[in-house]
Amino acid sequence: MTRAEARNLALAAAAFALLAFLPFLKDSGYLLSVSVSIAMYTVLATSWALFSGPTHYISLATAAFYGLGAYVVAAGIGTISYPLLLVLAGIAGAVLALAVGVTTLRLSGVYFVIFTLGLAELIRQVVTWVQNNLTGSRGMYVLTEITERIIYWELLGLAALVYLVGWLVARSRLGFALRIIGNDELVAAHVGINSAAAKLILFVISGVFAAVVGAVMAPRYTYIEPSIAYSPELSFQVVIMALIGGAHRLWGPLVGVIPFALLWELIAARFPTQTVLLLGVAFLLIVYFIPHGVVGRIESALERLRRGTRRG
């Protein structure tokens, strides 16, 4: 580990520790609920980008994993302890991601995009059918003592984990392989990289995170409806936040999620009757005026700065 890396790591740890104190602020309820959604999207978008950033595959299956995680909790709560359910949700996510990855990672471009969309719907249909015919109203209520504060901490922990995993992957052979795959898959094959396996590992990692996030969020909703747990809007939002931030940097999704979430929050708060219309307009403005994502903006600004100082 270089000194810069150690410093960054320490700073990150300090930041997380600081954030962990947020629930103790006075009147933090609203801030906390905003932070929960920011943390949730951060984990989802970052883990999404771990896979999609280097491989350029756009997956719209986030909701499938998320919903699966939520359902594992809903079906098992009361008989199985909650921490164990989180683990089970992770395992379920991994199994699903593995099955999906093995069959689909050879699809490319838009086919993969729509495939994952179809997949999310398929999972939703199958889970609903199982629920309707086997578990019934059990698998709908998640009544626990878990408060928003605990959910926030869990998400914060997951965020730390996702960054740790991302950082470890980036320094590993796997990360290097992914960068090569993202550049040129043919070259990757010809230098001896097993690109299918590399993509699969990352897909599984992102699937596990999404499933665990779903499991963490389930107690917050109390009542799990298929149309809400498997909302396609979630998948789209994750993709969009990650892309707006920039998927090729580990911290990219974060700089997309935060301003995006705050902007949306602001619109929702200030324009309650035209929320959707203005969200759309804000969104279009972002797409047209920040074409390379926030990361792109930051990087080009840094580049200008560097060039400026060099010249001066």
Binding site: I114, G118, V239, T275, L277, G280
Partner: protein
């Protein structure tokens, strides 16, 4: 027999949902996530004509179809063309158009909410039994099927029998090469995008005679349309129609013979299988 006819009728419904998007995505290369909203807008038009003007909902086509054409032309010209121009490759355009049209779908939902309110809109039109081989079927669905046949026939003739159609097909295969043979690519793309929007809105009019809708239901249609278009093969109107029919038949067969609870699961399973076995879609060209 019942299953067959019901399946074909449902397939026709699906083809109405998907045909517009084939033109927009297959030819103009815009994966339009606001497509469903255009459909709902068309349906709103029909609803308004029927309830407020006491006229046949199909009369709405006189205004809605040209209106949708013009609106989509403008959308392409002023909102999408800049994206096409700045995209370095197909992948970038895909990402940009997903993002932009996603935003547009919100804007359209917002506008419809303001204009029409958030409630359900539904009315009864031609909701009578129509006997085919001794079994009753909904007349409005039969009419929808006929309209679907008419639209697809027109499109087929338009694409295969006219100069413009040839240009569009060339564009669908390879925009760069199409430009080399003196096809006005931007104009043709705008045309096909606008045409797709008009077809979608027309579909909305027909569907409103038997589906209950509200301002935010568009996304449901967008998803279905995407799946049908991809399953059929991008840029091929025939493919979309065949895929729609297959889905319609499969859903009906599963609902009648196995369990209605698994209809959509079966549809998505079928879609996934098609994609796995023929990633380029039923009628798509394999890309090298």
């Amino acid at each position: 027999m019942d299953i067959l006819i019901t399946g074909i009728l449902l397939g026709a419904t699906y083809s109405l949902i998907a045909m517009g998007l084939t033109l927009q995505y297959g030819v103009a290369r815009i994966m339009n996530l606001a497509n469903g909203e255009m459909l709902v807008a068309g349906a709103f038009g029909a609803f308004w004509v029927f309830t407020a003007q006491q006229a046949s909902p199909f009369a709405a086509a006189l205004v809605v179809v040209p209106g949708a054409f013009a609106l989509n032309w403008l959308i392409y010209r002023y909102l999408l063309r800049p994206l096409v121009r700045r995209a370095k490759n197909r992948g970038m355009l895909e990402v940009d158009s997903i993002l932009a049209t996603f935003g547009m779908s919100f804007v359209l939902v917002g506008i419809m909410l303001m204009v029409f309110g958030g409630g359900y809109f539904t009315y009864s039109y031609l909701a009578e039994p129509f006997e085919i081989f001794g079994s009753p079927f909904a007349l409005n669905r039969v009419v929808a099927c006929l309209v679907a046949v008419a639209i697809s026939g027109l499109l087929y003739w338009g694409l295969n029998g006219t100069r413009t159609g040839m240009a569009l097909r060339a564009l669908a295969v390879d925009p760069a090469a199409a430009g080399l043979v003196a096809i006005d690519v931007p104009r043709m793309s705008a045309f096909s995008f606008a045409l797709g929007g008009a077809v979608t809105a027309a579909g909305g009019i027909v569907l409103s005679t038997f589906l209950t809708m509200d301002a935010s239901i568009g996304v449901v249609f967008t998803m279905k349309a995407l799946i049908i278009v991809i399953m059929g093969g991008v840029g091929d109107v025939r493919g979309a129609i065949v895929a729609a029919l297959i889905l319609g038949l499969a859903e009906t067969a599963v609902a009648s013979l196995i369990d209605p609870g698994l209809t959509l699961a079966a549809a998505y399973l079928l879609f996934i299988l098609v994609l796995l076995l023929r990633p380029e879609g039923l009628f798509g060209r394999r890309q090298s």
